[in-house]
């Protein structure tokens, strides 16, 4: 651990007692030394600034130095008492501390440890080395310890962090995204509402309402809603349960919800639609943008701009999202078909039959292992032994 350096940087009070020679030399009046839990680390000082966006410009211009970032006093190691006094003085007085509302757990106070020379137990014997000693304190992995990291600090992205991969679910959500994108383009003039609608996830009722509208290719082949009334119906469904946000305020970042329908429901829906709607073309860059945005919000898939450029139909978009199932192995295929299994002279193995497998089949492997171990020879592999040198000489390959 970095106890020595940490203490040297904070007040260098303990560094004297950490080295036996110095501990013996230094005058010591105080009966106890203190370990500051909070003050930690580094020998070098650095200009570190964490800035908040909410600050005013004057505050931003003013370079803020943290108390921990200010250059620490370098004092001689020999005078431990004055150092300790300095150290205690350096602590901010407790009463004046303003309260900060936080869900982070931060280390508290000072833990006191009896000094080596003040220990009265005659059986106490100082350790010669640090190996095997229990470590106390230290701030390594502080935030990884259970309960220390606040739940509000979890990262929330625009889309779900675990992407949806179920093909039927992707099909349902893609249809929803395309329909909503077409509607959003139509109602783009209502800026606040459409911004909120783009970030909404909606419930099951809304999903079924939106997806129930028929999507088809228009006269020019471009994707559109089959009936004109569908636009208004979908817009109403989308804007029904929107949260209220004042104009100009930033949107609240909410965690994307799970899809409101189950996989079986999605499969039934996908089968009922057929595949005609997938032929509709998607060429309008604005519709594609809204589609990509809705897909990101609903499924977590981020489609890159260049891929979006190449996507021209709804089917293309789906094939971009749905990962084809992994190809079956030959064994699995043969098993599924029930071929070769009945033939008496054919056996199918899931992997290569190795020489060891062959020995095991005739029951010789145990004996070979035993004999090899008896002679202290490697059971598998060459164990670093090479071919005989004489063989090399005989072959003329020097």
């Amino acid at each position: 651990m970095s106890r020595v350096t940490r203490l040297r940087s904070a007040a260098s009070a303990l560094s004297t007692s950490s080295s036996p020679a110095a501990a013996a030399a230094g005058p010591r009046a105080a009966p106890a030394t203190c370990l500051l839990n909070g003050q930690a680390s580094t020998t070098t000082t650095r200009p570190q600034l964490w800035q908040s966006r909410l600050q005013t410009t004057t505050q931003q211009q003013q370079q803020r130095c943290l108390s921990t970032s200010t250059p620490r006093r370098e004092t001689a190691l020999s005078n431990a008492d004055s150092l300790e006094a300095d150290f205690v003085e350096a602590l901010p007085p407790r009463r004046r501390r303003p309260k900060v509302k936080t869900d982070l757990v931060i280390p508290k106070g000072i833990a006191f440890v009896t000094r080596v020379d003040a220990i009265e137990d005659p059986s106490y014997k100082p350790a010669d080395s640090g190996s095997g000693l229990e470590e106390i304190g230290g701030l390594a992995n502080w935030w990884d310890k259970p309960g220390h990291w606040g739940p509000s600090k979890e990262f929330v992205a625009f889309g779900p962090l675990d992407k949806i991969t179920e093909p039927a679910m992707l099909e349902v959500l893609t249809k929803r995204a395309v329909i909503e994108a077409l509607v959003l383009k139509r109602f783009a003039a209502q800026k606040t509402k459409s911004r909120l609608a783009m970030a909404a996830t909606g419930d099951k009722e809304e999903l079924l309402k939106v997806v129930g509208v028929e999507l088809a290719a228009g006269e020019d082949g471009a994707a559109t809603l089959k009936e004109e009334a569908g636009f208004q119906a979908v817009w109403d469904a989308m804007t029904e349960n929107l949260p209220k946000v004042a104009k100009g305020e930033p949107l609240p970042v909410s965690k994307p919800a799970e899809p409101p329908i189950s996989v079986t429901e999605a499969q039934q829906l996908a089968v009922s639609w057929g595949s005609e709607w997938k032929q509709a073309s998607l060429r309008d860059p604005v519709v594609k943008f809204y589609t990509a945005k809705r897909i990101q919000r609903l499924t977590g898939h981020i489609i890159s701009d260049f891929k979006m450029l190449g996507i021209n139909t709804v089917g293309n978009l789906l094939s971009q999202l749905i990962k084809p199932p992994k190809a079956k192995k030959l064994v699995e295929e043969l098993e599924a078909r029930g071929q070769l299994g009945e033939l008496p002279n054919v056996r199918v193995y899931p992997r290569r039959v190795t020489p060891v497998d062959k020995e095991k089949m005739v029951g010789r492997w145990k004996i070979i292992t035993r004999e090899l171990e008896k002679r202290d020879l490697p059971v598998i592999g060459t164990g670093g032994y090479k071919k005989s040198v004489e063989m090399r000489w005989a072959s003329g390959n020097m």
Binding site: R6, G38, Q39, A40, S41, T42, Q48, L49, W50, Q51, S52, R53, L54, R64, L66, S67, T68, S69, P92, R97, P98, V100, K101, T102, L104, I106, P107, L139, A140, N141, W142, W143, W149, G150, S152, K153, E154, F155, A157, F158, G159, L161, A188, K191, A199, V253, P285, V286, K288, F289, Y290, A292, K293, Q296, I302, S304, D305, F306, M308, L309
Partner: protein, 320 residues
């Protein structure tokens, strides 16, 4: 003139003569091949159907879309249209290589210096008699042949930089950006790209309740969460953030979480940096500035009737 005409005529006649001598020359090459090579091969690939119909003539892409994301939620905020001459250039590895070598040469320090015999300290007295000792003749002890002597033909401080045409170098910049764009590794963020740290942490840090180690480890963990959530971290090849100027939280934070990426100011970036990590996250204005600085091959100073050819525009807003 007449002589030349006659010469060419005689050449033409010669050609005819050869043609006459071997009238079936073209046919002879079409002699049936041996039977064994004519059978169809098991691994024969079918002829690719790459022929285009004349009805749909090939149209080059006139613009490419660029989504502007917010950071760190990665919400798509706007769609812009960019010129393919900026972000959709074909990959030219040779040009990228030239640029990287050029930058490498330019950044060589070139300060290696060995002392010659004239710079080595000491007396220049002759070390022994010229003749009669039975040993080699030795002038002074600084001789390069002796231990402790000077170095003959040793390194001297010099400038290693090489030259590259500006238009080629600028093309390399945009080729690198295009390469990233095509691979989906160019993420354009909104202006003011900065790491938003939680308010309570900022207050605690300001009050000095945490200390350097806790502050650093907090920010490291906070960034790690973001990077893992977005699949941008160490496991995914790290990420380079490029901003116009130094952003305190982002830069100090990326120093603390260096294994997941790095943050650079626009003026520190070169072509090699654009090619290095798993992806580039660049501020919109920084990308504009970068392309504006590196389009000398697209800008002309030649004016015809007072008009110059237009430089392609950078980033036109399509949708919000």
């Amino acid at each position: 003139m007449a002589g030349k005409g006659l010469k060419s005529l005689s050449e033409a006649m010669n050609g005819l003569r050869i043609a006459a001598a071997q009238p079936c020359r073209a046919l002879s090459s079409a002699r049936p091949s041996p039977w064994i090579s004519r059978r169809s091969m098991a691994t024969e690939a079918p002829v690719a159907n790459i022929t285009r119909s004349v009805d749909e003539p090939w149209q080059p892409i006139s613009s490419v879309p660029v989504t502007i994301y917010s950071f760190p939620t990665l919400e798509p905020r706007a769609l812009e249209s960019w010129s393919p001459k900026h972000l959709h250039l074909p990959l030219r590895r040779d040009i990228l290589h030239l640029a990287v070598v050029y930058e490498g040469d330019k950044t060589r320090q070139g300060t290696a210096c060995a002392k010659t015999r004239w710079e080595v300290h000491g007396s220049h007295r002759k070390m022994g008699p010229q003749k009669g000792s039975g040993r080699a003749r030795r002038g002074s002890k600084q001789s390069p042949l002796l231990r402790g002597g000077g170095k003959s033909h040793g390194p001297r401080p010099r400038d290693f930089s090489t030259k590259l045409n500006r238009k080629v170098y600028d093309l390399a910049w945009r080729t690198a950006l295009s390469y990233r764009y095509r691979r989906g590794e160019l993420i354009v963020a909104e202006d003011g790209l900065e790491l938003p740290l939680p308010d309570d942490f900022l207050q605690l840090a300001e009050l000095g309740r945490l200390g350097n180690e806790l502050e650093d480890s907090f920010v490291r963990k906070y960034i790690k969460q973001i990077m893992e959530g977005l699949a941008w971290g160490k496991a995914n090849g790290r990420t380079t953030f490029i901003t116009g100027d130094r952003r305190p939280n982002l830069f100090t934070g990326m120093e603390a979480a260096g294994e997941d990426g790095r943050a650079m100011e626009l003026e520190d970036v070169d072509v090699k940096d654009l090619l290095e990590t798993g992806r580039i996250v660049i501020e919109r204005s920084a990308l504009k500035e970068m392309i504006k600085k590196h389009q000398s091959d697209l800008v002309t100073r030649v004016a015809i009737k007072g008009l110059t050819s237009k430089t392609p525009p950078t980033g036109q807003l399509i949708a919000v």
